[in-house]
Amino acid sequence: MRKRKSEVLGLLTEVLSAVLYCGVFFALTLLAVR
């Protein structure tokens, strides 16, 4: 059960990190174009 929970949290960490990464890149683009 603990292993399953850790895997779900790991999956969420990865997806959220990737979303954050895209957000940082979009902010960068916004700054560069302005």
Partner: protein
């Protein structure tokens, strides 16, 4: 081939179904023959050493290229066996360049086959065989390494291979669902939206770049579709060891890992320079179009995915030499080691960079100081000279391959920038095209591109072992006679 066959039957595509029946029959016959020849190895009576592990991995890719091109050839959508082999190698190596004609009208079964090839190729064919074959295989770890994957997630290589598949299958469910819902929200009917979602997931996760239509990702005209695919291909380009570590609860790896740091820095710098240049020249003037057209393509190139949301010739006509050069650099660097991505990998860039910094520090510090440099990749490693040398050697091999492929392109009359772009795309297993790859291009160039994709994917060593073995055999024959 059973899955595309079932897909064809379910979609009432009788001719493609027959193509798959023929292909399955031929493959089974060849498989039975090889199993008879190699029965001693199968029983574990013969020890497979490193040399043969590499050779088996390299040869299995060539054998599979021919067998898997049969459905292409029977479909009538490829001009020749060479074109079929090109597309199969492009799929297996997760490159994504296409010579198949009339992509918009190929059957769902063949589309399933194309995208399965790229999905399976991303994980590795040896990984697939190790995951699903019940028995212990002699020399399994050596073949696994021969496929360019050298990270052991678990002590047992079979369990490692199964873990790789488990990670991919969970993402398959999550990613397909996300793209399916997104597809329906942009106006696709539920069934086509499902297939588009599945195919685009397989391509994005395996950093492949195939799409079920000629226009690639542009077909969807959807920012949300692009955002989901960016997330998927960035995740797909990460090391399987890293996925496994994070899923085991080591969340700090996402920040501390040398590959993540290297990828973040290089993609950040390349994107920033590309956005600045292309907004200055007035090609893309607002933030949304700059992000969608520039950052998307840079990340697609850097992760070696190959989804392109500008037309091939736009790179040549709008991006200019500076933009093309940035894309070439991104394509050559590529994603992470032991991932679905190609290129010479962020890990090696990080190691060589740290090696250079360590050498400079060594020169500047007092002679009696002994410095031990380390890098973090799942755990701490000492940065020693053999590690730096091994990484530098692979980078040199990639550069030589890139130079030879560029040279051949220019020999056939393509402009230098176009040749370099396409050479980086095939060497780094990316799949973005500037317009060189076409069914009408010279056969020698097609063969060179197949070779470049193959060498780039297997990271040279296995293929060199195969070449050495063949040359050694020929030499022995010459001496005998």
């Amino acid at each position: 081939m059973v899955i595309p066959l079932v897909t064809s039957l379910a979609m009432s595509e009788w001719n493609p179904a027959l193509d798959f029946v023929i292909s399955i029959s031929v493959s089974t016959l060849v498989g039975c023959f090889l199993m008879t020849v190699g029965r001693k190895t199968r029983r574990g009576e013969v020890q497979v050493d490193w040399k043969y592990g590499y050779i088996i991995a390299a040869l299995s890719w060539i054998m599979l290229m021919f067998l898997c091109s049969i459905p292409y050839l029977l479909s009538g959508h490829t001009g020749s066996l060479l074109d079929g082999c090109f597309d199969v190698m492009s799929g297996f190596t997760t490159t994504g360049l296409v010579l198949t004609q009339d992509l918009d009208h190929i059957s769902t079964g063949l589309n399933m086959w194309r995208h399965m090839l790229t999905f399976v190729g991303g994980q590795g064919m040896v990984v697939l065989a190790l995951s699903f074959l019940g028995k212990h295989i002699g020399g399994a770890y050596k073949m696994y390494c021969g496929e360019g994957k050298d990270v052991k997630l678990l002590p047992n290589v079979k369990n490692t291979a199964q873990s790789i598949w488990k990670i991919s299958m969970i993402y398959l469910l999550v990613g397909t669902l996300a793209l399916w819902i997104c597809g329906m929200s942009i106006g696709l009917s539920p069934l086509p939206a499902f297939f588009h979602g599945l195919f685009m997931f397989e391509s994005a996760w395996s950093t492949g770049g195939f799409a079920p239509n000629t226009q690639n990702i542009m077909y969807y005209h959807s920012f949300s579709f692009e955002i989901i695919t960016i997330i998927l291909f960035v995740l797909g380009s990460l090391n399987f060891g890293l996925h496994y570590a994070i899923w085991q609860g080591k969340k700090k790896e996402m920040v501390k890992n040398i590959e993540v740091q290297s990828f973040f820095i290089t993609s950040f710098l390349i994107s920033a320079f590309a956005v600045l240049k292309l907004s200055q020249t007035g090609v893309y003037t607002n933030a949304v179009s700059s992000f969608r057209r520039v950052v998307y393509n840079v990340l697609s190139a850097h992760t070696t995915t190959g989804f392109g949301n500008v037309y091939a010739r736009q790179f040549a006509n709008e991006w200019g030499d500076f933009g093309i050069l940035l894309m070439v650099i991104a394509m050559l660097i590529g994603g992470s080691a032991c991932s679905t991505a190609g290129g010479f990998k962020g890990l090696r860039v990080g190691i060589v960079f740290k090696g250079i910094v360590a050498d400079i520090k060594k020169i500047l510090s007092p002679e009696r100081n002994i410095r031990v440099e380390k890098y973090h990749h799942i755990k701490d490693y000492v940065l020693d000279d053999p590690t730096v040398k091994a990484s530098a050697l692979i980078i040199v091999c990639y550069m030589v391959l890139f130079a030879i492929t560029t040279l051949l392109g220019t020999f056939y009359g393509y402009p230098l920038a176009d040749s370099a772009f396409e050479a980086a795309s095939v060497s780094g297993n990316v799949g973005l095209s500037i317009g060189v790859t076409a069914a009408s291009m010279p056969a020698v160039l097609k063969i060179q591109y197949i070779l470049a994709m193959y060498l780039g994917r297997l990271e040279f060593i296995s293929v060199f072992a195969l070449f050495g073995f063949v040359i050694g055999g020929v030499k022995k024959l010459c001496v005998k006679h």
